[in-house]
Amino acid sequence: MIYDALIGPFTEFEFMRRALAAVIALALAGAPIGVFLMLRRMSLVGDAMAHAILPGAAVGFLLSGLNLFAMTAGGLVAGFAVAILAGVVARSTGLKEDASLATFYLASLALGVTIVSIKGTNIDLLHVLFGNILAMDDQTLLVVAFNATVTLLVLAVIYRPLVIESVDPLFLRTVSRAGGPAHLAFLALVVINLVNGFQALGTLLAVGLMILPAGIARFWSRDLTAMICIAVVAAAVSGYAGLVLSFQTRVPSGPAVILVATVLYVVSVLFGRIGGIVRQLFPGRHLEA
């Protein structure tokens, strides 16, 4: 019974195995990026970027229909363009990056919806907005896995400057010029992972599997490495449980994954070791020193 409910779908159906591989790839790469987004107070920037990739994906859709490879390429181009433009404007004018990004993403979103509506139907629009991880083919899975690998490699390269720039940007500027390139590379990774999430969860929820696990991790650790590990596990568990939920109840897969992550988040808010509500209400006896 438990086997049939929790494991059976994956042994029985290839599309479920592909979906599971995809959510694990998304968790491995997206969750660490989400942790940095949160720590750099850029959570909503990630959300804005998710909308910014829409026109590129829409152009891919216009040219090739529901071809995820074309939509991915288009999304990457649009996302990079918005990320780099917003980053360059912010760094060269002193305008805050979120303000700069808000302008670009709103224009981008309007353009994207316009492009989709020129050719598509409501069903197409729903696919673009919410994705469909269960419809993922081998080629798309390879794209997702490739993006995840690139993300981890680039993150390893920029990890140190990214950490120092997050905690003490002035110091980094005095010892190195790596801060600017690291920030731009980080924005590029955000885009890559949003496009990855876009395949599975759609533009509206793509950022969910990055930010929610990061928020969960914040309630369980004060150590960056531990936070990243917790976020990856939380994202993978949400992905797996979301797929099972979707399979068993016919809830759309993307929302199912995000709803499971939300449940984990609520549990963390309540019972988290660091600042959880229950912990604050019942902190235990104070220590001697």
Binding site: R160, P161, D168, V175, A178, R222, D223
Partner: protein, 251 residues
Amino acid sequence: MAALHFHNVTLGYDRHPAVHHLNGEVARGALVAVIGPNGAGKSTLLRGIVGILKPLDGSIHLGGLDSRDIAYLPQSAEVDRSFPISVFDFVSTGLWRGAGLFGGIGKAARDKILRAIGAVGLSGFENRPIGTLSGGQMQRVLFARVLLQDASLIVLDEPFNAIDAKTTADLLALVKRWHGEGRTVLAALHDMEMVRNHFTETLVLARGPVAWGPTAEVLTPENLLVAMRMCEAFDDTAAACAADDISSRAA
């Protein structure tokens, strides 16, 4: 030989000068206090020296030093203390010059970090997240990182603000140790007694330089009064500065 040479430097924001037409030299091994009221341009000057802020006019020469030979201690408010990083890891960033992107932190480097943390009196705090430290403890952490940087020019922005007497005395001893080792130290300060008793040279700044020289000669009531009278606000209707006229007058 000079460690720093200011040539008619103007630093500022949105074309408004915060440091206006500064000329002069800082000798190698000097111990210089930069004093002046709030808004006098002290932090701006230090930011210009370490290369964070580009001059609006004029230039700052580092006397043959590489920018990596400079250690900068910012005001602790500049550090995001909510970031989940331990004291050990934070201090270890002082090894950037040697370690860079990929360099490992081996046993020798670990010992060096632990010694720096011990030298500022924070042994036992290595694994503490920086967000749980008091203001004085955080200031000690910043000093430990400067220690690790092993730089020949050390720039300290209000290093003793809002910390207790014991911490101040400990950290001041470190500053004097650096001076004794022949390093050049510049510190933006507010405590006149400290400046009078421990710093050999003083620059009184009030946007423009008021006086610069041996502390005993510079730290006079007249100079301090001139500095106190400085107008903090920028004048949005100000005309473009006739820089050449002012430079030639100064010369």
